[in-house]
């Protein structure tokens, strides 16, 4: 860890300015990811701007939306009565992530901005385009069991990155079409969840579309159309406390066995939460059945590509989609 300065601003403006005017400054919330990165000298902020005292800790009911402040803890969201009733998918996704101790520290904003768990990114002895653009992608010709199958380049180029985004919460937020509220030096804006994380393309060092100095203030989730038929399925190497190999967030609005609306997103398969738009289209208006779920899964998997060690995801992912849909639809 490199020596750093530590400041604790008391207003949003102050915090934003501190980061916007200093390329070496970085926000810190729960610190569960950032401190790890600092210990490994992957992140070396010259100034830590502690945002924990900013007024971003409320869960509020707004007209047509649920608004969750960026500093609400993962465990607080997961045990909040209103969220439990209106957005059980969110709760399932949160509880599937990390461990109790971590969820007690981790914030909603920090969760969205956690960095990939690609081991090459974490060890400075390896090349990694995300850490040092242009140094090469260690995972591409190396160990890539955990890596992406969607949004990966046809032909590897020197700037490739095949990492996945590790957040479970983001997958659920993506399925629920949440909006990320951010405030920056030039004011406030809203970013739809699906546009918040990005594919690596030629800039794998950039995980999101957030601009320098922009602070996440809240996420807003449209009101419950899916209070009932939801399921977050997480396939992992052990029963708890493991990142997803593949995860699926499924939310269905079912009326008399007909699918009125459906949202599907996958985790562990791409550089961002992977919305399954085509599968959603196929399912909309259909009668609930395993056959149609299977067809949707097939459609969803189009364009998936595997590397040396992650071909199993091509089999697990469609199975997981079907299973999540079945469980969401209470079809078993």
């Amino acid at each position: 860890m490199k020596p750093f300065e530590y400041v604790r601003p008391s207003t949003l403006q102050e915090a934003i300015e501190l980061v916007a005017t200093n390329p070496k400054a970085q926000f810190i919330a729960g610190g569960t990811n950032l401190i790890d990165l600092m210990k490994h000298n992957i992140a070396a902020p010259g100034k830590l701007v502690d945002i924990n005292h900013l007024p971003l800790k409320k869960i509020e009911k707004r007209d047509g939306f649920l608004r969750i402040g960026a500093l609400v803890l993962n465990s607080e969201v997961a045990s909040h009565k209103r969220v439990l009733a209106s957005h059980p998918l969110l709760v399932q996704a949160l509880n599937a992530g990390a461990s109790g101790q971590l969820r007690n520290m981790a914030t909603v904003g920090g969760n969205l901005l956690q960095r990939t768990r690609c081991p090459y990114f974490y060890d400075r002895a390896f090349p990694c385009n995300k850490r040092i653009p242009g140094s090469g992608c260690g995972a591409l010709g190396g160990i890539n069991r955990m890596h992406a199958i969607f949004g990966v380049p046809e032909k590897p180029d020197p700037r490739s990155c095949i990492a996945v985004h590790p957040s479970d919460l983001s997958v659920a937020l993506s399925a629920l079409e949440a909006t990320v509220w951010v405030q920056g030096p030039h004011g406030e804006r809203q970013i739809p969840m699906n546009d918040f994380h990005r594919l690596p393309n030629n800039r794998p060092e950039q995980d999101t579309t957030l601009a320098n100095g922009e602070l996440i203030t809240a996420v807003e989730i449209p009101d419950a159309v899916f209070p009932k038929h939801v399921h977050y399925l997480k396939v992992r190497d052990r029963a708890s406390y493991a990142f997803a190999l593949v995860s699926v967030a499924a939310a269905l609005d079912i009326d008399q066995n007909r699918i009125k609306t459906v949202r599907l997103a996958m985790g562990g398969v791409a550089h961002k939460p992977w919305r399954l738009f085509e599968a959603e289209k196929l399912l909309t208006g259909q009668t609930v059945s395993e056959t149609i779920f299977r067809q949707a899964a097939e459609v969803a998997m189009q364009g998936a590509r595997a590397f040396e060690h992650n071909a199993y995801k091509l089999k697990v992912a469609p199975n997981a989609i079907v299973q999540a849909l079945k469980l969401a639809a209470s079809l078993s």
């Binding site: 000298n41 081991p119 190497d237 071909a311 199993y312 299973q323």
Partner: protein, 749 residues
């Protein structure tokens, strides 16, 4: 020694851990926690390449950083006196050379310590370490076992030693295999696995004088560490003190003195201050050994009725380029079943990696994974119940040494285990059992582990107030050594455990072996037994010599001692206390030291612990995820000293076995010869949610031939065979035979 054993457990059959409160309240002091006013902090810098040489070290920016006291590398090391003089140019160490710290510019493995930074604070040392620039010239490395397999050879150590158990072994008829009615051949692989105890390895090194060294070092043997450091630094043995009173788990990682310990001692010498060095989690993967990547080929011949007629077991283990690490991989196969015709081969493959070491159930956990998987495959091929196959081939005497077993209740273990588990409910066909959409599998495996007993000393002291201190330089890496020894002393002396203190983990105490090979209870327990017995006898004589003593006419075998009071017989109401005896004789204390070791019984009996495990798994047919739902484990390890701590050992062994079977794998990127799994997010060990109800059963009958307490070792046998039982259950659930551990989702979908 025959027929001698411990008096019955009274009054507390399962004494709670004597140091439990200290541990859970944080009052126990671990190696890294000893306070020193002028403590300096060291951070290791390790190589990022797997083979080659250091061409330049630029330490200037680090040396100029705040708080830095020294940057030590091969260029400026104070030197380890026992290392041979340097050659120019540097030459690669011949095989058989323990790794030499900061010796020359040569790199043998990725993660090799190349320099150490010492500073006033840990943060300063870490910061400075990131400023040291090291240039390397790389050479082609070989770390890939599979790609280099054909280079495996008989270890030099074995070539030199004609009586080595690792010599090629053949018994019986070489034609038995080709002519067998049923034949089966398969290859089993276990990956590199790391001990990764929760407490990382740590040391504080203190030079008390130019020729006096004290270390607070996490290890499993203070006496061997003392000897090793004395030899390396050319000091009289007694000038080196090693303290390791509390250990937060080790599983074998602390059996040797590792390079980081030597680095800290060198650093302390250089800066002339106490130096603390704690390995970060990532360095735990390259600094303290591991269970080696091992490939095994099993060929089995049998009759159609399931009688084994031939077994061929070949094992290849990975080792470093500079040392040979051999383990028992193929040895269990010679003793486990009554098979007349058995051959074993053992080869080593030298790779550009650090040296492996013993990890819980070393060799046997590996070998029994293969043997017990193969037996399951045979049972399936013969359409025979796997347990029945084992019963049909039960060895009533040791088929390798042609000796009777000292004791063996394996059949009783099978009976208990299968009953408790409900083995009879198993439907023979794979994929035939389901619940809630999950495939259900039942699997079992046998286990065995050799009996080890090493010469050990213990000193027992009766104090004037009737309290007792017992001492031995033994260790407690977790099993509860102090508790068991307290209990043995309490039973021998008839003193309440509350009045007994047991000291361990200090090299100035009476000689004892390190804690490994499940030898502590058998060895040190016997010494404590003998020392306490001698002390009691001495005190009884002193007591009888008191004028008018009620003991003067007592029959020795009628004497009863309870709570430190001696009664001439069970009916007697008058008694004399130990304290009375010391008071009368005006003695501040009475002490006895005894050495205990094995005798001719070693050549008369073959000595093993035996056991078996029964496992139920559920496998998702959709995702391929495996979850263990239930385990019943049984062991015959002779007399159980403390039921509670013994149970904990068995549970721990099963947990380790579940990890071995389902998740533990250190993955290397061979392009760099470097691990990509270097933290707990990528190297998975079981978490609570992975561990189901584990039921433990013991036969609990003293083995009267092994030692005076009738107790054999339990630590290792607890894990041996578990991985096979899990893999066999997975086969039963899915019909898929996974021969390469760990059994992960990608191998099942």
């Amino acid at each position: 020694m025959a027929n001698a054993h411990l008096p019955p457990a009274e009054p507390e059959p399962s004494l709670n851990r004597v140091d439990g409160r200290l541990k859970v309240t944080g009052a126990a002091t671990y190696s890294a926690e000893y306070p020193f006013d002028n403590l300096a902090h060291a951070v290791l810098i390790t190589s990022t390449i797997a083979k080659g040489r250091i061409t330049n070290i630029n330490a200037k920016p680090a040396e100029a950083a705040p708080g830095v006291l020294a940057v030590i590398s091969h260029r400026n090391t104070p030197g380890v006196p026992a290392y041979p003089p340097l050659k120019q140019p540097a030459e690669r160490a011949p095989i058989g050379t323990a790794f030499r710290v900061f010796y020359d510019e040569l790199i043998y493995f990725s993660g090799q310590p190349v320099a150490v930074v010492v500073a006033q604070t840990l943060e300063q040392a870490q910061q400075a370490a990131s400023l040291v620039e090291i240039d390397y010239q790389t050479e082609t490395h070989q770390t890939d076992f599979v790609a280099n397999r054909s280079k495996a050879a008989i270890a030099m150590n074995v070539q030199r030693n004609k009586t080595s158990p690792f010599q090629d072994y053949d018994r019986g008829d070489p034609d038995a295999m080709p002519s067998a009615e049923v034949k089966l051949e398969a290859t089993y692989t276990i990956p590199t696995q790391h001990h990764q105890p929760l407490e990382p390895h740590a040391i504080i090194a203190v030079w008390e004088a130019d020729d006096k060294l004290t270390v607070y070092d996490k290890n499993q043997g203070v006496k061997s560490a003392q000897g090793n450091l004395a030899q390396a630094f050319k000091l009289p043995r007694d000038n080196v003190k090693v303290n390791a009173q509390f250990i937060g788990g080790a599983f074998g990682s602390g059996i040797r003195v590792w390079p980081h310990t030597v680095a800290a001692v060198l650093a302390a010498k250089q800066v002339k201050r106490p130096v603390k060095l704690v390995l970060g989690r990532e360095l735990m993967f390259t600094s303290v050994g591991y269970r080696p990547f091992t490939e095994q080929k099993l060929a089995i011949g049998a009759t159609k009725t399931g009688i084994l007629t031939a077994i061929m077991h070949e094992g290849i283990g990975q080792t470093s380029a500079y040392e040979e690490h051999l383990e028992r991989t193929i040895l269990a196969t010679r003793a486990m079943y009554a098979c007349l015709n058995v051959s074993t081969r053992y080869r080593l493959l030298n790779l550009d990696v650090n040296t492996p070491t013993w990890m819980r159930g070393p060799g046997d956990a590996t070998g029994m994974f293969a043997l017990e998987s193969a037996l399951d495959e045979l049972a399936f091929a013969l359409q025979l119940d796997p347990l029945e196959l084992r019963l049909r081939n039960h060895a009533d005497a040791d088929p390798e040494r042609n000796l009777p077993w000292s004791a063996k209740s394996l059949k009783e273990c099978y009976r208990m285990g299968s009953e408790q588990f409900g083995w009879k409910n198993r439907k023979p066909e794979p994929q035939s059992m389901q619940t809630d959409g999950m495939l259900v599998g039942y699997g079992m495996a046998s286990s065995l582990y050799g009996f080890h007993r090493h010469p050990s000393k213990a000193k027992a002291m009766m104090q004037a107030d009737g309290s007792v201190v017992v001492q031995s330089a033994t260790m407690d890496i977790g099993p509860g050594t102090g508790t068991a020894m307290t209990q043995i002393a309490a039973r021998m002396l008839g003193v309440s455990p509350k009045k007994i203190r047991f000291d361990l983990g200090d090299s100035s105490l009476p000689d004892a072996p390190g804690q490994n090979g499940s030898a502590t209870i058998p060895s040190v327990g016997s010494a404590v037994h003998d020392a306490c017995k001698a002390l009691k006898n001495k005190l009884l004589i002193l007591g009888a010599s008191m004028p008018g003593s009620i003991l003067s006419s007592a029959w020795p075998d009628e004497i009863e001692i309870k709570n430190g009071r001696i009664y001439p017989n069970a009916e007697s109401r008058s008694s004399v206390s130990y304290a009375d005896i010391l008071k009368y004789h005006k003695l501040p204390q009475v002490e006895m030291t005894e050495e205990s070791k094995s005798g001719p019984e070693r050549d008369q009996y073959s000595m093993y612990s035996f056991g078996c495990h029964f496992v139920e798994v559920h496998v998702s047919p959709v995702t391929g995820e495996v979850r263990v739902k239930r385990v019943v484990t049984c062991a015959d390890v002779g007399k159980i000293i403390n039921d509670k701590t013994a149970r904990s050992q068995s549970i721990g062994g099963v947990v380790g076995g579940i990890g071995m079977a389902l998740m533990e794998e250190s993955v290397m990127d061979h392009r760099y010869g470097r691990y990509v799994t270097s933290d707990f997010a990528s190297y998975h060990i079981p978490v609570h949610a992975d561990i189901p109800q584990i039921e433990v059963f013991f036969v609990d009958q003293p083995d009267v031939h092994v030692n005076p307490i009738g107790a054999k070792g339990l630590g290792e046998i607890a894990i041996v065979g578990v991985a096979a039982a899990v893999a066999n259950a997975v086969f039963h659930a899915t019909g898929k035979r996974v021969r390469e551990l760990p059994i992960t989702v990608d191998k099942l979908v």
